[in-house]
């Protein structure tokens, strides 16, 4: 971590809403989401891009918010788990994870779902192998992954309107 800090005012477009935030040069997007904007749905588990629980979408691409400087996100469109849906209006991925015990402790779940969202945006009909490859940047310690793969495949077929 750097010692000398410079403060910047950044404009972040998060879940469709514009925020102006004063940040230090070395603050991560994850710090700003969680500690300044109360968007605590995005988690952190490893601090350095090793586990994926902090995954958010930046201009439609899944990125690790713990390894993205807040200043890098200036002007970008950020989508977090809170912007995907909520308990009143669940996204099909959230629904399939919630009801099938694909979220055990729930810590990797937001990152897993955002990573799956990125996959399904680009590939609405993935194979099981493609789901595994796409989610391999997010680790889970509880489920053993089987229920997660199934939840993503189930949600994909719901989004395609097949079930």
């Amino acid at each position: 971590m750097m010692d000398a800090q410079e403060s910047h005012n950044v404009t972040l477009k998060i879940n469709g809403k514009v925020h102006h935030v004063d940040v230090d040069s070395n603050w991560m997007l994850n710090d700003v989401l969680r500690n300044r904007l109360e968007l605590t749905g995005t988690k952190r588990a490893c601090d350095y891009g090793g586990c994926g629980s902090c995954t958010v979408l930046m201009d439609g691409v899944d990125v690790y918010s713990c390894s993205t400087l807040a200043v890098e996100a200036q002007g970008k469109e950020i989508l977090t788990i809170e912007g995907l849906g909520n308990s009143e209006n669940l996204h099909p991925l959230q629904k399939s994870f919630a009801f099938s015990y694909a979220a055990q402790c729930g810590w990797c779940t937001p990152g897993m779902i955002m990573s799956a969202k990125s996959l399904l945006d680009h590939n609405p009909k993935p194979t099981e192998a493609e789901v595994r490859a796409a989610l391999s940047g997010v680790l889970c310690r509880c489920t053993g992954y089987t229920s997660i793969v199934k939840a993503v495949l189930d949600a994909a077929s719901v989004i395609r309107g097949e079930t």
Partner: protein, 775 residues
């Protein structure tokens, strides 16, 4: 319970599922409060040292720093997760990463920088960096400064943990921590036709909960509230009250949901220091561990060395088992839970192979200058079954007997006495059923009785292991529960146990719903808030479904009885004439006559509350969980790589209250067990005690690409000591995997791997040895 069940046995959706999938769930790390300060810890760079001098003046001068705590600023009052045996800060530092000082500042950056502005002069001390060497006479002391006896209160530490101090926990100077002995092993070996002797080594592993520990403390009006990632909220309440000098009811701990815990998230210095800083500054204070802190300031599974010798007759009778275990206990002054773990290591496998007449198992739990060890998923049994199940496999092979039949011939039976729970007898033992169901699923008959039967460089084989583990009937724990029928008829369960991912609230509410004849969505309530929930020891030893389940069922039955009594009073009928279903009480003989639960509570003049308690201390019957794990592997003799083709995990669960959750726990445990088998393990620099792989990817937990086809098998034959016949299975699912894989590797390639993790270099080394020993 007889007859058709309404919700028990059904895969109902998890009650916390939606909150988890939307990110709306508030974990302790998600609590942010106005004017909150951030806390960071300065950690020891030395494995063993004394703080000769500490100067915090530069740190305090930094803009944004609110307070710094060193050992000079904290009360010398003991607290602790297991026994109350540690001060919140101490001048002696006992491992690389030990807590030196704590800072509170306006944000996380400033706090971090302030820790680096603290000037410390360390006086380094000789360190113990190998358990076996630490047990030898003349070894330096891993702990020099022991807490003052006058501080120790009755009930904190068992008398046998006090006394002379060497590095061996427990007190027979020069002797082991625990000896479990029966019969005469020398005679047993004389009686045997074959004997095997091997040394096994297992690396220290971390639970790798994905939520790094967090605590947010608020101190106002001589009351303290802590939102904290702990499995033992009532212990933290007790500890914080002691150190802050507050009555227990002035301390509230909330730990409703945790992002994984696996046994290791217990009361720690981080939470006590957070509370002290909140008290000192008068502002809310938050600490949130980095991954490095989560790896090292935790309670890991011990590194172990086992010297094993076992003998059997040609007919398959075990005649003798002799083991000497060295268990790296870490830095705790009196040993933390090391002694309990040592006892379970030396007794559980002996209970599983109850027919073995001659046993001597010694465990040396040794204090070292490494991180703390403690009860991680499969506590004690993951430690002991790798060597035992490997040796059972080898004995079976040597006498040309099927490994399953060999194990079953020597196994425990219903009603057998237990050396792991003295004075108690085991209730149900469905281990044979689990083993046979698992064998059928994997296709055991395909297994070649001769090892290394596959031609070519990729050799396939099948192996198994049979295991015993706590299913929740740990007599050291107590669970209380309350079920309330409110004035509006709403049914709520209050339980003190945190949910660390097992969705126990779903399972517990299913039991309550069953008793009241309502859907699980109609049972509400809260958990793990010491201000609203009754006491629970916490989700350890797979005890929630079993022990808390018994308490919750008793509470529901008690509330139901009171509801029926109240309705009987209103109708002037005997309670036996009435039944309860669909949120109402009905008269059996008059199908249209009913009173809603709310009307009954209103008539009673207050909410109707039922209480239930479980503590198995005085029960003679003791429930155990059993399982059999089967692995099919492919060993590449060119690269040493072990590919898992299939894993079958077969469990005696008594009864699955929620099959989806039970299978989820079995799958999750199996994957963690695979990590223990193949990839995970701390590397410490043996000269300095510094961890070399404490960061996430270096911990090498399995990824979504590493997972084979895993098939859970659930054997449901009941358990009479539980109202719905359930046994916990979340931990035992971990235990059998590593030995099953080791035995499959033997079956595939003819090599016995005796060290965990079974990495490619170890496989290649064993293959080389096999080649050089060939005639």
């Amino acid at each position: 319970m007889s007859g058709e069940l309404f919700t028990v046995g059904k895969s109902v959706a998890p009650v916390y599922g939606i909150e988890k999938a939307t990110g709306e769930m508030r974990f302790p790390a998600d609590v942010n409060l106005p004017s909150m300060l951030w806390m960071k810890i300065l950690r020891s760079p030395y494995a063993h040292a004394k703080i000769a001098a500490i100067d915090v003046s530069d740190a305090l001068k930094m803009p944004g720093v609110a307070a710094v705590l060193t050992h000079k600023d904290v009360p010398t009052i003991l607290f602790g997760p297991y026994q109350n045996e540690i001060y919140s800060l101490d001048e002696e530092l006992r491992f690389v990463g030990d807590t030196v000082a704590a800072v509170a500042a306006e944000d996380w950056n400033i706090a971090e920088q302030a820790t680096r502005a603290i000037r410390v002069t360390y006086e380094t001390l000789a360190a113990v960096l190998d358990a076996e060497a630490g047990a030898a006479p003349g070894a330096p002391d891993a702990v020099l400064h022991y807490p003052d006896f006058s501080e120790i209160k009755p009930g904190d530490i068992r008398p046998d943990q006090l006394g002379t101090f060497g590095n061996i926990v427990g007190l027979k100077e020069g002797g082991p921590t625990v000896v479990n002995q029966r019969g005469d092993v020398e005679r047993g070996f004389a009686d045997s036709d074959v004997a095997v002797e091997r040394v096994f080594r297992q690396s220290e592993v971390n639970a790798v909960s994905h939520e790094p520990r967090a605590c947010v403390a608020v101190y106002e009006n001589e009351r303290c509230t802590l939102w904290c990632s702990v499995q033992d909220p009532y212990r933290l309440q007790d500890s914080a009250a002691r150190v802050l000098g507050l009555p227990m009811d002035a301390v509230r701990v909330v730990s409703t949901n945790l992002g994984g815990a696996f046994g290791v998230k217990v009361t720690g210095r981080f939470a006590i220091l957070c509370a002290l800083l909140a008290c000192k500054t008068g502002r809310p204070v938050k600490i949130w561990f980095t991954r490095e802190e989560e790896s090292l300031d935790s309670h890991n599974r011990s590194a172990l060395t086992h010297y094993v010798k076992a003998g059997a007759k040609k007919d398959g009778s075990l005649t003798a088992l002799q083991v000497r275990t060295f268990q790296d206990n870490g830095y705790w002054p009196f040993g933390g839970l090391g002694q309990n773990i040592a006892f379970a290591i030396s007794t559980r496998p002996v209970d599983l192979y109850h027919r073995c007449p001659n046993v001597k198992w010694e465990v040396f739990a040794v204090r070292t200058n490494y991180p703390s060890t403690g009860p991680y998923r499969g506590r004690a049994d993951a430690e002991s079954h790798f060597p035992i199940e490997s040796v059972m496999d080898e004995l079976a092979h040597r006498i040309h007997m099927d490994p399953i039949e060999f194990r079953l011939k020597n196994r425990i039976h219903e009603g057998d006495d237990l050396c792991s729970a003295p004075g108690k007898i085991v209730s149900t033992v469905w281990v044979e059923e689990a083993a046979r169901a698992g064998a059928k699923t994997i296709g055991w008959e395909r297994r070649s009785a001769v090892p290394a039967a596959t031609l070519g460089p990729r050799k396939r084989g099948i192996g198994m292991a049979m295991v015993i583990h706590s299913c929740g009937s740990n007599p050291a724990g107590t669970s209380e529960a309350e079920v309330v029928v409110d004035l509006d008829g709403r049914i709520s369960l209050f339980s003190g146990t945190p949910d660390q991912g097992s969705e126990q609230q779903t399972t517990l509410r299913q039991m309550v719903a069953e008793i009241f004849g309502v859907a699980v969505e109609d049972v509400h309530g809260s958990n793990a808030d010491t201000s609203t929930c009754p006491y629970d020891s916490g989700p350890f030893s797979s005890r929630t479904v079993y022990a808390t389940g018994i308490a919750a069922s008793r509470a529901a039955e008690d509330a139901k009885k009171k509801v029926l009594e109240q309705a009987a009073l209103l109708w002037k009928r005997a309670p036996g004439d009435l039944s309860i279903a669909k949120h109402a009480v009905w008269v059996r003989s008059e199908p249209l006559r009913k009173l809603d639960l709310g009307e009954i509570a209103r008539a009673a003049g207050s909410p109707i509350s039922g209480k239930g308690v479980h503590n198995g201390k005085d029960d003679r019957l003791f429930a155990y969980g059993f399982a059999a794990a089967f692995a099919e592997v492919e060993v590449d003799v060119g690269t040493g790589e072990v590919k898992i083709l299939r894993l079958v995990s077969s469990h005696d669960v008594g009864r699955a209250i929620n099959p989806m959750i039970v299978e989820g726990q079995i799958l999750g445990g199996a994957v963690q067990g695979l990590g223990y088998a193949l990839t995970e393990g701390f590397c410490f620099d043996p000269r300095t005690g510094t961890a070399l792989n404490q960061w996430f990817l270096d911990l090498r937990t399995p990824s979504i690409l590493d997972i084979p086809d895993i098939e859970p098998v659930v054997v449901e034959l009941g358990e009479p000591t539980h109202p719905f016949g359930a046994k916990g299975c979340s931990e035992i699912s971990y235990v059998g995997v590593a030995p099953a894989v080791a035995n499959a590797i033997y079956n595939a390639a003819g090599i016995r791997l005796t060290e965990l993790p079974m990495t490619p270099d170890r496989v290649l080394k064993a293959l080389q040895e096999l080649k050089s020993n060939a005639p």
